[in-house]
Amino acid sequence: MAKIVCKDLKKSYDGKTEVLGGINLEIEEGEFFILVGPSGCGKSTLLRIIAGLEGVSSGELIMDGELANEMLPRERNLTMVFQSYALYPHLTVRDNILFGLDVKKVPKAEQEQRLAEAAEILGLTDYLDRKPRALSGGQRQRVALARSVCSHAPLCLMDEPLSNLDAKLRASMRVEIRRLQQQLGLTVIYVTHDQVEAMTMGDRIAVLSAGRIQQLGTPLELYNHPANEFVATFIGTPQMNMAVAEVAPEGLVLNGGLTVPLSEADRAKLPMGQRWKIGFRPEQVYPATATSVHDTEVTVVSSEMMGNETLIFFDVAGTLFTARWQGQHRIADGATLHVSLDPRYAHFFDVNTGSLLRAAEDLDELGVRSTSAAGAAAAAHIEAAPAAAE
């Protein structure tokens, strides 16, 4: 039985504009479920509805098989980790962790045992008698997590818990929260605007925009088969390069200005005169070689060398495209560059509705290969691409 079911859940504050417009989803027991989306998409509202901190305008929220629309937060048997951690400044770490347990009539001895356990797991044993203001940001975060651990509630809601930490700490806490969830067998619903957190932590992800679920699936499903333009550009950094594409006699014309030569095989799949929104992931924009069919000449606007990889920004008839190449490539601004834009690796979207018409081919396979052949990958791709084209 699903832990949480949302049936056509709607939320509106003024009765006119919908903050959430018909949410349908099921969250399984023990799942790490991510709600991701840009700010204002309704993800926090949905989480707060599940917590009972906000009411529902219409639809059903079912928790453990029971209609929960009208349940008070305390009756839902869950915990919540807030973005600001919600630590009480006048209470010690110990009392912050144990906060509320006495109300739930947990015996004193058991409280102590749970406290010791949670403090141990999160490395807070030495800080129990401090006040929150004497802790670092990372430690405060851990206290908030410890409070959840201590409550022994099977469901934990997290609202952007890592957004106040610096990048390094955030990376290590991602791993730690995931480990904690698995160790305790918790069901976690995790709200974030950071697609890296979503991709690395979630079992499943729901991408929200404008109060609606755009796509629901595993991280790789979202990456490889984005349901629409929004998901395609939201998931993945740097984001997917998008352009309007049209087949003309001389080849595939991007944004009405840049022509990509096409092979016969390509033409067989791409009917003349049709228009699409087409998207290339930056890592699928390859350097062209002598044998590249899709050799396209572009002008470089700028480039950024990261050490392990290089980002190259070039102009596609007014839109800035990004290519991500492994290794270090020194390219002057304004230089002319030959890239391979193979339509087989592109996602095709309906030009009006933005929904996915055709996902890139072999992307799963390519994805695996590019990660395993990290160092020399660029060269490998250059050979692999034309080979696959024949």
């Binding site: 049936k7 056509d8 709607k10 509106s12 504050y13 003024d14 009765g15 707060r48 009972g52 901190l53 906000e54 009411g55 529902v56 305008s57 219409s58 639809g59 059903e60 029971e66 209609l67 929960a68 629309n69 009208e70 349940m71 008070l72 937060p73 305390r74 009756e75």
Partner: protein, 312 residues
């Protein structure tokens, strides 16, 4: 509260009921329970007497305060044609002019000087705020000992320098000024404390930028301090003016309105009519007049604060 937990099963699915608070945040009567003590006291001891005062002011009354006959605005007419009442108004206005500007200027100067981070400021701050702890009764006694015409120390000092003793509280030309001096002395404490806090909350960077421009003490005071603390300055101005209109204790303790009615202030007159002469109707009318004056002052303060005063 547990009512809510029973409800879910009965809720029909997916009927559109747009705006909805969270289950725990539904409007309840609980708010009124927490407010009840304050609201009850306000109702009995502020709102009821306020209404009752307005009504009583339109009636002739028995000495115990019973209403005998509706007389419209007669109480007000009688008051405003009574030369002693108009004198009380004039006295009060003079008293306000004597006390308010002096209180604020002195308090501001002391606050500016003691806001500096210099050795010994803690002692000065304590001394200057000390008068806030002195009651009118005690202040009256302290100053009576200084003023007393025959053996008061002030006259001895004046006489030591060859001057002539002053009848501080018994000379009708001086008495109101003497009371004003005590009032200024008493009010400095509170005004000083508020202004000091306001000045200390000004960010250092404002002064550092003046330092770079090269402005001096008066420049800093005029261009930085006063504009930035203007909300507090206005607050102090208002409470000092209102406080002056409400002055009673000093007069009651020191002059009883004398000599020759020179120190009869509005509240003192109200008190005499209500509790000595038992003219409750007239006293109520005086209360209404006083309220009107204070209302206008508060209103002006609110308006000016909204429009002109700079907030930090």
């Amino acid at each position: 509260m547990s009512k809510h937990s029973v409800a879910p099963k009965a809720v029909p699915a997916a009927t559109a009921v747009p705006p909805r608070e969270a289950p725990g945040e539904r409007r309840t009567l609980a708010g009124w329970v927490y407010l009840l003590p304050s609201v009850a006291i306000f109702a009995i001891f502020v709102i009821y007497p306020f209404g009752r005062t307005i009504i009583t002011s339109l009636f002739a009354t028995t000495p115990a305060g019973g209403l005998t006959q509706f007389i419209g605005i007669d109480n007000f007419v009688t008051l405003l044609t009574d030369p002693l009442y108009t004198q009380a108004i004039v006295n009060t206005l003079v008293y306000v002019l004597l006390t308010v500007p002096a209180t604020i200027v002195i308090a501001l100067l002391l606050a500016v000087l003691t806001a500096q981070d210099l050795p010994g400021m803690g002692v000065f701050r304590t001394i200057f705020s000390a008068t806030m702890g002195i009651s009118v009764a005690a202040a009256a006694v302290f100053w009576n000992l200084l003023f007393n015409a025959n053996s008061g120390v002030l006259n001895r000092i004046i006489e030591f320098f060859g001057g002539e003793g002053v009848g501080w509280l018994i000379d009708q030309n001086v008495a109101l000024l003497s009371v004003s001096i005590i009032s200024i002395w008493m009010n400095i404490g509170m005004a000083y404390l508020i202004l000091l806090g306001a000045i200390k909350s000004i960010d250092d960077s404002y002064y550092e930028s003046v330092e770079i421009v090269g402005g001096g003490f008066w420049y800093r005071l005029r261009r930085v301090t006063v504009p930035l603390i203007s909300p507090s300055l206005f607050f102090v101005l208002t409470i000092t003016v209102i406080g002056a209109f409400q002055s009673f204790g000093l007069i009651d303790m020191l002059t009883q309105g004398g000599p020759n009615n020179a120190t009869v202030l509005l509240i003192y007159r109200l008190y005499r009519d209500a509790f000595v002469n038992f003219r409750i109707g007239s006293a109520s009318a005086q209360g209404v007049i006083l309220f009107a004056v204070i209302f206008v002052i508060s209103y002006i303060q609110t308006k000016l604060t909204e429009d002109k005063v700079t907030y930090q």
